[in-house]
């Protein structure tokens, strides 16, 4: 590798700052830079952005969609109601704050102040000012942004003074237009190494190898980057990376979740998701197959596996549960998930009462639940066993070709004449064993008669007094066409179908926001799970709408949408934080730089395994069991659990395949914020805890990876310590260490050498952690010393950060 060509983010940063400075000086000298938060006072009040969030958070609780808690007959979520005559006075008189009761009351010093004391809600001075000014400016109303559709792709017309060269794509034009309005300029492009590392992590979940980096640096063709993007999108590891985010949403796990938390058969569904991303199954078909693959004409085996989606929820056969109660729990779980995943809605709130902030009624909640009332999933209340896996019929059997042949052969043998009793028994035993090896997966099978679904008053499953409801979409969003009982397929088609009355645009927008967040660090609408009134309005609505339109225009091809995003200049920006920008937009809501954040749990594991050379990059298969502290499952019962880690190559599979025990997720994964997947997770938290540090320092997976990494450093890096340290740094961070960094590592190495030369027993102990064999050709003290160096490098903030 040519080390001199390596441009690092650090070396780059100084230049970047200089250039940035010039940029600002040259282009923005006459512009007064103002804070994003102060913008409001400089512009007309925007109902969507400025007013509705205040009304929703501070007023709707008593003056919103829920009639049961509505006070004074006043609704502030509907324009006509908000402006109507309340018996001689008006809450809102457009243009006349002085005559508007709303303004009087929010400024009141008396007991009648709004919101009232006991609501625990308070308006800030700024919020009061916004409301008053909005009324003064005419109290212009708009439909909630999340229910407002743009018919065509919004375009961004750039003023001439803006640099059209940077704004190479429509995405960039939208981003540039919005950021310059608040006085921001794009960050300079990331250096090439940072960029390729980012791209590899984002698309494959793995860093590039130094060779791959070099190849990219050597490619001087103008479309070198685009070629690389295409190559990565075609990699089978792309599906693995994307699956993580989808599995979080749909709450995929290997165990039932409640009570005994037994294993259930579902891993083929995970493989289906990986494959669906790899083959770029259009999102509408991706949706149909999961929600209703069984209702498609002549469903394929793969489409049936996809219907495992409907079975992913937590289930229980705890002794003493009432099936009726659990049927209600499951129904609510499914409504929460389908509405969160596809609608970005919190319909779950309407289980006991009409939604406080959005127009979802309790009837809507149960009508959505009714779509799923035909799913055959109650048998486990009776047949659920305390075995591993437990019984969760119905399932599909998925024998390999070899298994089919073996089973067939045994069945034939059993039919042959002249077998004695002993032979028959032996054959039967073999057959049973062969069948047990077959992979199975929970699927959706339709009941001949769907369960009756009633509105449960206050969510109480014991109360049968509520009206029976039929499957229907939320009333305010329209009505499904046709007569007869609507099906899950109808629901899927409404969510993503082409009909002009479908929700396709909104669904696509929810999805586009999530995909944007995957590649830019957070959403254009910040709240990935809530597009309702309490969510955060998008900072760049035209961009979000544009992405949704683009997604649809490209046939809901997720790969094409991703290609569009990652080839934009917006994506390629440096993630370095410019202090002057930090003041204007501290949380990077306007994307005037890329984001930097700690890698997800799975990717930290994958990266360490890649550096170690241990990584087994097989795609798909049953879930794998890495090393785990003994006794970690001791609180599980029915049956008592003993965890046995895999002792073959499965030990070093990628994180996406790790056995997902809902009640006791692997401690390292938990420490690194991987969700338990009991509920939908739209966005993982990113914390920074001592438990995470302890895991990366001491978990045998990482210690073994470090030792194998050390072996590669010693054997492959050249003769001198300097060369070795450079090699090690390159595999951990893809860059060459600075002098002082080298010195620090060198010190650690030398001290460890002395120490382990003196105590070879300790050296032996450290280097025999894990089941991979130590390379006996290397002096054990030398290997131990480098193992600790490798541990240091795998623990660096830089190593575990995507930037």
């Amino acid at each position: 590798m040519q080390q001199n060509t390596v441009t690092t983010e650090m070396q780059f940063s100084i230049n970047a700052m200089k250039r940035q400075f010039l940029n600002v000086v040259v282009r923005l000298a006459p512009v007064v830079i103002i804070l994003a938060s102060q913008l409001v006072s400089a512009q007309e009040v925007d109902f969507q952005r400025d007013v509705r969030p205040i009304l929703s958070d501070k007023c709707f609780f008593c003056h919103g969609p829920d009639p049961k808690t509505r006070e004074a007959g006043l609704r502030l979520d509907i324009e006509a109601s908000a402006k109507e005559d309340l018996g001689g006075y008006f809450a809102i008189v457009p243009g006349k704050p002085d005559e508007s009761e709303l303004v009087t009351r929010i400024h009141s010093d008396d007991d009648d102040i709004m919101p009232p004391e006991e609501s625990e809600k308070h308006l800030s001075k700024k919020e009061k000012e916004i409301l008053s000014r909005w009324i003064k400016q005419g109290a212009k109303w708009a439909k909630h942004w999340a229910y407002e559709k743009t018919k065509t792709k919004p375009t961004a017309e750039l003023p001439k003074k803006l640099d059209a060269r940077w704004a190479a794509t429509e995405i960039d034009r939208h981003v540039l237009l919005t950021m310059t309005k608040i006085g921001l300029q794009p960050a300079p492009p990331a250096d090439k190494i940072t960029l390729i590392r980012r791209l590899y992590f984002d698309l494959l979940g793995l860093p590039p190898t130094p060779d791959q980096v070099q190849k990219f640096l050597n490619d001087k063709s103008p479309d070198a980057y685009e070629k690389l993007v295409k190559q990565l999108l075609a990699s089978p590891h792309f599906g693995e990376r994307m699956a993580i985010f989808w599995l979080d949403l749909v709450r995929y796990a290997d165990t039932v979740g409640y009570h005994g938390d037994q294993d259930h058969n579902i891993s083929p569904y995970r493989d289906w998701v990986i494959n669906a991303f790899n083959t770029d199954l259009p999102f509408d078909q991706f949706t149909r197959e999961q929600l209703a693959g069984d209702l498609l004409k002549n469903p394929t085996q793969e489409q049936l596996i996809a219907t495992g989606y409907n079975r992913l929820l937590q289930t229980s056969h705890e002794g003493g549960i009432q099936p009726k109660e659990y049927t209600a729990i499951y129904a609510a779980d499914r409504v929460r998930n389908v509405s969160a995943v596809w609608m970005g809605a919190t319909v779950g709130c309407a289980q006991c009462h009409d939604h406080k902030y959005d127009p979802y009624t309790t009837t809507d909640f149960y009508a959505l639940a009714a779509f799923f009332a035909d799913i055959d999933d109650e048998r486990h209340f009776k047949v659920g066993t305390n075995s591993l896996p437990t019984a969760r019929p119905p399932e599909i059997e998925l024998p390999t070709k070899q298994q089919s042949e073996q089973i067939e052969a045994l069945q034939q043998k059993l039919k042959s004449d002249g077998l004695d009793k002993k032979q028959i028994q032996a054959l039967k035993k073999q057959l049973a064993a062969a069948k047990k090896q077959v992979r199975r997966s929970m699927i959706t099978v339709t009941l001949t008669k769907p369960r009756t679904v009633r509105v449960l008053p206050r969510g109480n499953w014991l109360d049968d007094s509520g009206p029976i409801v039929q499957p229907a979409i939320p009333e305010f969003l329209g009505k499904l066409p046709g007569s007869g009982r609507a099906t899950r397929l109808d629901l899927a088609n409404w969510l993503v179908g082409k009909s002009s009355k479908s929700n396709r645009f909104f669904t696509s927008r929810v999805m586009a926001n999530r995909i944007w967040a995957l590649f830019m660090g957070h959403g254009i609408s910040r709240d990935l799970g809530d597009f309702g009134g309490q969510g955060t309005p998008p900072t760049n609505p035209p961009l979000l709408d544009y992405l949704a339109h683009h997604y649809i225009a490209q046939g809901l091809s997720t790969k094409k949408l991703i290609y569009h995003i990652v080839t934009s200049n917006t994506y390629k920006q440096s993630s370095l934080v410019d202090p002057s920008k930090q003041r204007i937009d501290p949380t990077n809501q306007y994307f005037a730089r890329q984001s930097r954040y700690r890698l997800p749990a799975e990717l930290i594991r994958d990266q360490a395994l890649l550096a170690s050379g241990l990584l087994n990059d097989k795609i798909g298969g049953i879930s794998v069991k890495p090393y785990q502290p003994a006794g970690y499952y001791r609180h599980l019962n029915f049956p008592p659990r003993r965890y046995k880690h895999h002792t073959d190559g499965r030990q070093w599979r990628r994180g996406v395949y790790v056995h997902w025990q809902r009640q006791f997720l692997h401690p390292t994964f938990r420490a690194l914020d991987a969700p338990t997947r009991e509920e939908c997770t739209a966005e993982r938290p990113r914390s920074n805890t001592p438990l995470a540090a302890l895991s990366l320092l001491n978990d045998p997976t990482f210690v073994e990876a470090a030792r194998n990494f050390a072996q590669r450093i010693i054997l492959n890096a050249g003769k001198t310590d300097d060369q070795k340290i450079e090699f090690a740094f390159r595999w951990a961070t893809l860059r060459t260490p600075s002098k002082i960094e080298k010195k620090l590592v060198r010190q650690l190495l030398d001290e460890n050498r002395v120490r382990y030369q003196k105590n070879k027993r300790d050296a032996t102990q450290l280097t025999q952690i894990g089941m991979s064999k130590r390379d006996e050709s290397i002096d054990v003290a030398e290997l131990a010393a480098w193992t600790n160096v490798a541990r240091a490098l795998l623990n660096l903030s830089e190593t575990i950060t995507r930037n």
Partner: protein, 480 residues
């Protein structure tokens, strides 16, 4: 004050702001910065600073020790004496009590009354009823307030624990220990703010999920850390074999020094937090093993609890709870698994009480002797109670029961020697001064100086609270 209603982003920003002191310091300053004392003045020693404006008013307690009798101990064999229950022993349970009620394992069975399976006596100045199964707790009734009118909403173990810990049966919400640490921050420089320990003994133990001490949608640093009685006391707290404390120190120093360089060059503030996390991790590697090694306790103390070092018993856990309390851990939760007495209740009560009664007494006495009971709230109870009706899975027992059961509180701010609330004449329904799980949460937060209505986090568009959306009340009558 609007700042009480913080969003997670506010919290993260504030935290980042407070930590920003580390930016731009040289290597020498780094060494200085990493000294515990220096860190303390930087307000960044602990990863967990708590929220601005919390507590809302002067607190009465600094910590909670929650003694969870997992499985659901019978209130009718511990604190709730009902003469009518004995009178109707063996008779059909009056349908007026049970009609339309949720029932667990007794679904579809003939329901008959089961009289008390032990004797009750009155104890202490408050003349508190206590059963003969609890001779040690009987001696300390003047320190406790027995709440006999608890109700919950979940009748199966797993969701009932989830309800008790998070205020809802829906998974994915923060547990009370996480809430308290989120609001108040940690007091310990070397230990997590929320520690969980478990022990077993009694009838076939019900599982207990890590969900019970999870941080839900709060960041992971608020999750309860389980201290294990077997293996490593905390996962990965031990160095790998062949790595000494000194080796690990040098390793962490190198990591932190390299991280510091990175931070200077990139200005990435998150790195300061990571350096602090590695420091705390390293300190925990010493402090945790020291803490769990109770062999330095005088024999008299070990005897008082009935604890043997390293036995993983409830007794040892009680002693550890005191040690954790002394070191500033904010929320300590002990689970004893074995109270699910569907049958063989006498036998299993003897076992469960034999294992837990004396250590519970010892813990309260020990705290008292050390002057710590005044600012510690001790809570005792299960996820629910047990039916007045007979169940016979291997001898007389009782089924799950949620409409009336008993818990007790002792310590800071609690009026000892009192009982609060009542169930009906058969111990079925809580009828007087009903205390919902939400009220328990509200009261606990109140003692911490927290207004339960104000401790909220925006999540999925809602102001999420431990006490949820239904009204909850602080039980002022039991507070001094």
């Amino acid at each position: 004050m609007t700042e009480h209603k913080s969003t997670l982003q506010d919290w993260i920003n504030r935290r980042t702001f407070l930590r920003a002191g580390g930016i731009g310091l040289g290597a020498a300053a780094l060494a200085e910065l990493l000294k515990p004392a220096a860190l303390a003045t930087q307000q960044s020693s602990s990863l967990n600073l708590g929220l601005a404006g919390v507590p809302h008013f002067p607190p009465k307690i600094k910590r909670v020790i929650f003694l969870c009798m997992a499985g659901g101990p019978s209130h009718l064999e511990t604190f709730d004496y009902k003469p009518d229950l004995d009178r109707l022993n063996g008779k059909p349970m009056p349908e007026s009590f049970t009609k339309g009620q949720p029932i667990a394992q007794l679904q579809g069975q003939k329901l008959k009354v089961q009289g008390h399976l032990t004797k009750f006596r009155r104890h202490g100045k408050g003349k508190t009823w206590v059963s003969d199964y609890l001779p040690w707790q009987a001696q300390m009734v003047d320190d406790i307030c027995v709440i006999k009118s608890m109700v919950t909403e979940q009748i199966n173990h797993d969701p009932a624990h989830t309800f008790m810990n998070t205020g809802t049966a829906i998974s994915g919400r923060p547990s009370m220990g996480a809430w308290v640490n989120y609001g108040l921050g940690s007091e310990s420089e070397n230990l997590p703010g929320f520690v969980v320990m478990t022990s077993v003994g009694g009838r076939n133990p019900q599982p207990i999920a890590a969900r019970q001490w999870a941080s839900g949608f709060l960041p992971s640093e608020f999750q309860g850390v389980e201290f294990n009685s077997v293996g490593q006391p905390v996962h990965y707290v031990k160095n790998p074999s062949g790595v000494s404390k000194h080796d690990q120190r040098r390793l962490v120093d190198t990591i932190n020094a390299l991280n510091q360089i990175r931070q200077q060059q990139t200005g990435d503030r998150e790195i300061a937090a990571r350096i602090a996390a590695y420091e705390l991790a390293f300190r925990m590697q010493t402090s945790v093993p020291e803490l769990v090694d109770i062999s330095d306790e005088p024999q008299s103390v070990l005897d008082m609890y009935g604890a043997k070092p390293g036995d993983g018993s409830y007794a040892s856990n009680c002693l550890l709870a005191r040690r954790l309390a002394e070191r500033g851990v904010r929320f300590i939760q002990l689970y004893h698994r074995g109270w699910d007495h569907h049958g063989g209740l006498r036998k299993f009560m003897n076992i469960c009480c034999g294992l837990t009664d004396r250590p519970t007494w010892a813990l309260v006495q020990d705290l008292k002797q050390r002057g710590m009971l005044d600012d510690t709230l001790v809570i005792w109870g299960g996820e629910f109670g047990r039916t007045p009706m007979f169940q016979g899975k291997g001898g007389a027992g009782r089924d799950h029961h949620i409409k009336g059961f008993t818990m007790w509180m002792a310590g800071g701010g609690i009026r000892g020697g009192t009982s609060y609330g009542e169930t009906d004449e058969l111990g079925y329904n809580a009828v007087k001064d009903v205390v919902h799980v939400r009220d328990l949460h509200a009261t606990m937060l109140h003692l911490f100086g927290i207004d339960h209505k104000k401790l909220s986090v925006k999540y999925q568009g809602l102001d999420m609270k431990l006490t949820g959306v239904e009204p909850a009340k602080v039980i002022k009558d039991i507070i001094t």
